[in-house]
């Protein structure tokens, strides 16, 4: 049962990762791409973390994986914000 759930979660996670990447290509401008990446990828990561949770050996390890996810969330939220801010600060600033 868990096995099936795990595989499903894994699959979903991968799916979202794929979507994120797709967004990177399909979305028209940088800001929208940020949306796609931040949301899809972090969701994907979260799902994969969930998928991995049953396989771990102890509570601490489980929390560790979750911690990784949380950290990734915070990191990508912040960097999304930072990139967005920089883009809005000077639209042409970083472009070559």
């Amino acid at each position: 049962m868990t096995e099936v759930l795990q595989v499903a979660l894994l699959f979903l996670g991968c799916l979202f990762f794929g979507l994120g990447t797709l967004g990177l290509f399909r979305f028209p401008d940088t800001l929208t791409r940020i949306h796609a990446l931040t949301k899809a990828d972090n969701l994907g990561l979260g799902l994969i973390v969930l998928a991995l949770l049953p396989g771990v050996t102890g509570w601490a390890v489980a929390v560790k994986i979750l911690l990784v996810w949380v950290v990734a969330l915070v990191a990508s939220a912040t960097s999304a914000h930072l990139v967005a801010r920089a883009l809005s600060a000077g639209e042409e600033a970083g472009s070559d």
């Binding site: 950290v71 915070v74 990191a75 912040t78 914000h81 930072l82 801010r85």
Partner: protein, 234 residues
């Protein structure tokens, strides 16, 4: 024209090199698999090394001289870095980004990075991790802090910085000498104390490594008011 020919020649040489390398590799991989002598020795000696992680055992016990010199290399790089920093203040306010979210990130990440560094340091004796990783992580924490505009007064060229640069190195060196004064070889640990001493060394090393890498990152910018003169005419 000559430049063009030189480039072509060098390119051809690189190509030749790659082909030869591949050819050599082909011969090497065709060799029969056999028991690796060093691995056997390593597993036999590992219990005496004071740590249970083989890589750490190699780095800080069996081949600690390599590590000592390697830290020396880092110390040199750090020294040269700060010797080139001609500014009195090592931080540049222009580089500040006073973003509140970045600050918020720092509040969480900086302690976490330090903690992770500590964990890697401690874990080094039994599993992957160790002084260098911990030190690099500390440096990364410092870089992050600096990028976000945290004050880094301790990185001004001065006695404190210099002492920090060589802290781990000196600890390592003194412990190395200890073994020799005790009648054993240079770099030999007193029996039974190996594990503890390795941890002490690693702790010192991580601090120093962090500081060195950070100093190298920090000392790079040059202030405009600095004089471009190189030295005495001689």
């Amino acid at each position: 024209m000559i430049e063009r020919a030189r480039q072509a020649l060098l390119g051809a040489a690189c190509l030749l090199f790659t082909v030869c390398l591949l050819w050599a590799v082909r011969h090497l991989v065709a060799l029969p698999a056999e028991q690796q002598a060093l691995s056997v020795l390593l597993s036999r000696w590992l219990p005496d090394s004071g740590v249970s992680h083989p890589v750490t055992a190699v780095l800080l016990n069996f081949r600690s001289y390599d590590t000592l010199l390697e830290i020396g290399v880092l110390v040199i790089a750090g020294m040269v870095g700060i010797s080139l920093a001609r500014t009195s203040a090592l931080e540049d306010p222009a580089m500040r980004s006073a973003d509140p979210l970045l600050h918020a990130l720092l509040r969480l990440f900086l302690p976490l990075l330090v903690l992770l560094a500590g964990w890697l340091l401690w874990a080094g004796s039994s599993r992957p991790g160790g002084a260098f990783q911990a030190g690099a992580l500390l440096a990364a924490a410092g870089v992050l802090g600096r990028l976000a505009g945290l004050p880094m007064a301790f990185l001004r060229p001065g006695t404190l910085l210099r002492a920090g640069l060589v802290l781990g190195f000196s600890v390592f060196l003194l412990i190395a000498l200890l073994g020799a004064l005790d009648g054993r070889a240079f770099l030999a640990y007193p029996p039974g104390l190996a594990g503890a001493l390795i941890l002490v060394i690693e702790a010192g090393l991580s601090l120093s490594i962090g500081m060195i890498l950070l100093a190298l990152f920090v000392s790079a910018p040059v202030a405009p008011e600095e004089d471009a003169d190189g030295g005495p005419p001689a």
